[in-house]
């Protein structure tokens, strides 16, 4: 439990900072939604006249901004990006914290196996991730309450927070695996961020090619932000197949992280 507590303390500062960013973004963004504006349908027609690639690049791929649900999906997309980055950071710092802080001796003289140590570290990170997703749900519900929308969208907030959790845990596991695979923590940070970037670019790519089914399905594997798409979330659906993909990625990445963490030489470089 000591290790868990120590990890919780070490991750607290970053959590507070990103929680403030998420809270501010949702609070400031959602309260400014002014309802269905005049010409909402027309603007959708205009947007649909662009080719999908252009729409995706211009950030208009995610739905109709004139309705509350479309607007909310775009907000959640940015929350997803924050979570992807934050989760990758959590995952890799769980694995490489001792190397960065030169505290190997402190930790590994304790009578605990390395896999126990890593489990506790990852558990602490996972707790923060779950809390962040719950924060997303609570804030969405609370802010929307004050908007007087005339309809209850609670199930959308639940689905979309679950989507956040999937995005978060995929990048959390990938971040842990990457940190295990490289020797220097600094390059672990670099590659974990590259992974987030690839996920983001693949998301834009998926939006752009969503009308070419074969290509889109391949790109979608690399795009955790689209394992369940905004239109599925809006329609109340959940992509089971890609949730299986997500679980496979998480399991594989964690296996790599554990294998590397338990067998690595303890060197003090970097």
């Amino acid at each position: 439990m000591n290790i868990f507590r120590r990890e919780m303390r070490a991750d607290l500062k970053a959590f507070i900072i990103w929680a403030i960013v998420v809270a501010f973004f949702l609070g400031a963004g959602l309260t400014k939604f002014t309802g269905v504006k005049n010409g909402g349908a027309e603007i959708t027609d205009v947007i649909n006249a662009y080719p999908p690639l252009v729409r995706a690049v211009m950030g208009m791929g995610s739905g109709n901004m004139a309705t509350f649900t479309g607007f909310y999906m775009v907000m959640e997309f940015y929350i997803g990006i924050i979570l992807a980055f934050y989760a990758a950071q959590l995952g890799r710092s769980a694995v490489s914290r001792e190397m960065v802080g030169h505290t190997y001796e402190f930790l590994f003289v304790r009578p605990r196996s390395r896999s126990w140590v890593l489990s506790m570290k990852l558990l602490a990170g996972a707790v923060y991730l779950v809390v962040m997703c719950m924060l997303n749900f609570l804030l969405s519900a609370a802010v929307a309450q004050s908007l007087d929308l005339g309809r209850d969208y609670t199930s959308l907030y639940v689905r979309s927070s679950a989507w956040c959790a999937v995005v978060g845990f995929v990048f959390f596991a990938v971040g842990a695996a990457v940190a295990g695979l490289v020797r220097k923590p600094e390059s672990g940070a670099k590659w974990a961020n590259v992974a987030v970037l690839v996920g983001y670019v693949a998301t834009v790519g998926y939006d752009a090619f969503s009308d070419h089914e074969a290509a889109a399905n391949i790109i979608r594997v690399f795009s955790p932000l689209r394992y369940t798409t905004p239109s599925q979330l809006l329609a109340g659906e959940w992509s089971v197949g890609y949730t299986v993909v997500a679980c496979a990625v998480i399991a594989g990445s964690l296996a790599i992280a554990f294998r590397r963490f338990t067998t690595q030489d303890l060197s003090e470089q970097g």
Binding site: G29, A49, L53, M65, I82, F85, V100
Partner: protein, 264 residues
Amino acid sequence: MNVYLFEFRRQWRSFLAGTLTQAIVAAVFLGGMYPMYHDSQKDVEKVLAGFPPRFAAAFGITKDMFSFGGFFAFIYVYLAIVAAIFGALWGLKVFGREKLDRCMDFLISKPASRMGLFWQKALVVLTGIVVMNGVFLGVALWVRTSVGATSPGVGQFVLMALAVGGVQLIFAALGALIAVLAPRLHSVTGLGVGLGILGFVLSALPPMTNESNFKAISPFSYFNVSQMQTQGTYETGYLVTAGALCVVALAVACVAYVRSDVKA
């Protein structure tokens, strides 16, 4: 001069990486996608023809939007995020190097004024920014010529593209400030990318909410690229804000660097 050369030798790979990334982003977005965007003009106009004329004006849809400059204004945010990430990384890395490597005493014990050290380091970061934006500008102008774009003119387009360098200066100054003020530094990659992503996320708020107050906290929005395209000017107030932010961040960092106690 020694410090400049040393820092440059340690940074040039990162400068190269940033320059190449930005050149590729510019080539792909401007060169690869602009033609498709331009071709969609007819379809969009066909849809617009079915609406009352006031409608297009109300939503800011103009012929100008389909020009090269109009497309640039749309993709500006992608160029800005690359610039912001690399700017923040360089500021953090160059000014935090001794803290990261725990060799502050080695540098500070040299017979050179701390003020001199600070500005040599600043000059290295500036070199990177100038090189990266010079190459980016070259690529952008080359694409502009090769797709046969005429609007906006070269001068105006250069002014639009300089916004990317402006964003990079702001984030480099912020990175330097954080590196100097932080009591300990373990890793800068996460911090630098975090700052860039924060800038990206905040830049979504003003256009989504139509609330211009949010522009004050979104450095990407200090440079109103679409206003530059349509009216040929940036918003003076925000331009001053951007400059002031850079100057204040650097001045505070400089004072802190010169005066602070050094932990061995």
